[in-house]
Symmetry: C2
Subunit: 327 residues, 2 copies
């Protein structure tokens, strides 16, 4: 099943069921006004939404309209939780290597995760507002899950059963604010402005054989300023799968329905797969030649993030954002 | 105006208007089903709620009932944002002094703040579940504000105008999980389990002259296992006031209505005022005698947090929690 949220006059938008081929959509106010409401009441809402989805795919719904990604907000325009892991250790290894440091052994069995701001996400086709170019704006291409209610202390196997939906992410980051924040010891805060998610969220079964072992075994396709930038496989070299990442949260607190848990920037060791963020290219430049030459994003720069199935069809729609000045 | 949230069958509870003396309350479903809904539509809801509040205080509402703090959830049982500052630098200075380190100069002009989990708060009279006593459970007594919508880039003066409500906080912390998390560099995560807030949230005008310069100039009263533990004045030695703390968030992203921003553990240099967390007593013991002797909370231990006005009346009601085992 595929779901999206059209922007409307409300803070949470209008829940839409989207056809598998992303060509049609239908509003379902009789089931749930918005995605959070559906997640709050998933046991009842999910079978009704699946029924609409089946009819929509068969072309049997007179109320269906053409699906317009440009009208979408992030599937949850605001959420009660957004916690982001850093599960692709190649990314971490490059960061460390660029500054001549080792990756601690604990990083291979204890996930890195930070709590992100979740009160206001960007729509997937909205510009990225930038107040100061000196802050070092970067994109980060990721995958994320939306969970149902997860009890305190749930183990990874149980957490896996509470994964409701998957999305793509642009985890916008202000790189030049990070060193000062990490030195303060409280983690990322101002360095993590509003995040954007793909137009469409999908249930895990939509991925077919690509959803295995709690990972998405498909390349994430990233273009930067209309040119290829990266295509690392999200199923490879993911040190912690999504059930393990959710269990990391559940160790000391419950999660409520609608919690979003991210994978961290996707990264493969094979360099021909490119990168999902500018910082990684800069670290490779430092390792290879001693200095970073790739600049961070400037006004007008564009990033595009997508994932396609084995037949080449877009699964989640496209995140397509341009940097604009914010006074 | 004073507001509370009764627990009911919904995730967000039932909004209640509470009389100034905390003796009576009335449900207001005709205005807003819950506090988040009122905050989402504050310009319209606030005057209607104020009208009910005036009638309630005059004893003119036949539908009023006795107010029962034990029925309350946190005013926002779940929220879109909970970000906590560390504005009382005496607390930070003690932490550093106990380990022989200096406080960086930047700490006096750049607030410390971490993003907390906001998807599931504890009710103010609910037990604190503890899975492992070795994690070092501690309480932290604080004050917090709830904001309206705050635009990206708003300065402190503007941020002050968006403060809607104030509450007390028990920022539950797992002290022994902190060193490992800080070493990883991503900040607090598992070390910050579910937080509890006072039964009642109040508009700033309820504090009268005690609300000045964006600070609450009253002692926070903390009892531990039925004995005095602390009474530091929240208006003293607060390095950053609430408008400045909100502006710290707004520097790189907007805040949506219902965002909760905390002060950090309240702490005065004058030792006779006691402490609002066990860790601070332990640091004083380390500084004075080389070793901490105060243990962290055990099963059955109790914490009580309250604030009274100049006449000795409780402003926010009482946070009263007991530690219980969680299997």
């Amino acid at each position: 099943m595929k779901l999206a949220t059209y922007q409307n006059a409300t803070r949470d938008g209008q829940l839409m069921v989207v056809s598998r081929d992303l060509r049609h959509a239908v509003a379902v106010p009789q089931i749930a006004a918005n995605l959070q409401a559906a997640l709050d009441n998933w046991a009842q809402a999910e079978p009704q939404l699946q029924e609409v989805y089946a009819s929509l795919n068969q072309g049997a719904l007179a109320s269906a309209v053409a699906f317009e990604q440009e009208r979408c907000h992030s599937p949850l325009p605001r959420a009660y939780q957004w916690a982001d892991g850093s599960a692709y250790l190649n990314h971490v290894e490059l960061v460390r290597k660029a500054r001549g440091a080792e990756v601690p052994d604990s990083f291979y069995h204890d996930p890195l995760m930070y709590q992100g701001g979740s009160d206001a996400f960007l729509p997937p086709h909205a510009p990225i507002p930038l107040r100061d170019a000196a802050w070092g704006l970067d994109f980060e291409g990721e995958v994320a899950v939306i969970t149902g209610d997860v009890p305190l202390g749930a183990d990874a196997a149980e957490c896996g059963s509470h994964i409701r939906l998957l999305m793509l992410v642009n985890d916008v980051t202000l790189r030049n604010l990070i060193p000062n924040e990490l030195a303060k010891g409280f983690g990322f805060f101002q360095s993590k402005p509003a995040t954007a998610f793909s137009p469409v969220a999908v249930t895990p079964d939509e991925l077919g054989a690509a959803w295995q072992d709690g990972k998405v075994h498909l390349p994430l396709l990233v273009d930067y300023n209309d040119a290829f930038y990266g295509k690392p496989n999200a199923g490879q070299e993911m040190q912690f799968n999504f059930p393990q990442l959710v269990a990391h949260v559940a160790k000391t607190r419950e999660l409520v329905a609608g919690s979003i848990i991210g994978s961290g920037t996707i990264s493969n060791r094979e360099r021909s797969t490119g990168s999902c963020c500018l910082a990684e290219q800069r670290m490779i430049e430092i390792i290879d030649s001693g200095a970073a030459v790739t600049p961070f994003m400037k006004l007008g720069d564009k990033v595009r993030i997508e994932m396609k199935d084995a037949q080449g069809a877009s699964i989640f729609g496209v995140i397509a954002q341009t940097v604009v000045a914010h006074d």
